[in-house]
């Protein structure tokens, strides 16, 4: 590699040094894991954790609010019924 007389790199040296910088890689184990994960996604196989997350997400998004709503309605109906009973609107038993 040629350098300038005063030991300072020239532009060409700099560019060739940049091109020669080390190429790094992840470990083979991690590379294999990532490859497998990507293959599974490409082939449309939902990974186990994603599937469970999906179920969990649907549960949280739809089922929990629905159950909460039903419980609130039942509670409200019971309060109205009790109030009506106290004031005698439901007639004598």
């Amino acid at each position: 590699m040629s350098v300038d007389r005063d030991d300072q790199p020239g532009d060409e040296d700099l560019l060739s040094s940049l091109a020669r910088l080390r190429i790094c890689d992840i470990s083979q184990r991690r590379s294999r894991q990532l490859r497998r994960r990507c293959h599974a996604m490409l082939q449309g196989e939902p990974p186990m954790d994603r599937w469970s997350l999906g179920v969990d997400g649907a549960f949280r998004r739809e089922i929990v609010p629905a159950l909460g709503g039903v419980w609130c309605l039942a509670y409200l109906a019971e309060i109205v019924r009790c109030t009506a009973a106290i004031y005698g609107y439901l007639g004598n038993p």
């Binding site: 300072q8 040094s17 080390r22 190429i23 890689d25 992840i26 293959h39």
Partner: protein, 194 residues
Amino acid sequence: MAPDDEQVLVARLSAGDTGAFDEVYDAYRPRLFAFLLRMTRNRALAEDLLDETWLRLVRHATRLLPDTRLGPWLFTVARNLYWSHRRDALLEESFVPELLTLWPSPAPWPSPFDLAAAGELERRVERALSTLSPQYREVVLLVGHQGLTPADAAVVCGVSPEALRQRLSRARATLAEKVRHTPAVAALKKGFAT
């Protein structure tokens, strides 16, 4: 990669061909990792961002346009993930001055790259690179190290080709200046020893 070959590869990838994925993965994984590692200067973070880059490729595989150029596409995703992480990290740490200047302080000791680099000049370049601002570092890495054309690097960085050329010119000048003022690793080691 020839444009025709790349179009075939993209079509196979869109069809869910794992062989096509392997070709792209083997060609670009080390390059993307080298880019992310030098941008983040943190191996664990670079590995996480690399994972996310590939997962995004397979998630978007069916939506890739036939003329998609995989190299710029992958580097764009990796770069955006890096900047997104950097913004989050800066905000979390309330590091407002750095958010404004985006100018990192130079590492006071040789990085693992310094020590492993083949020659003295490469060591100095590695060290000088680590002290460049991320905006300059990314263009130098994309064009100088990864061999992207300035036009492709402009696409990756989301700037006009002219802006990229100017940024690259300034980055190279800054890098050359820093290399000139970067002491040799041997001298640094000697300095630490005394």
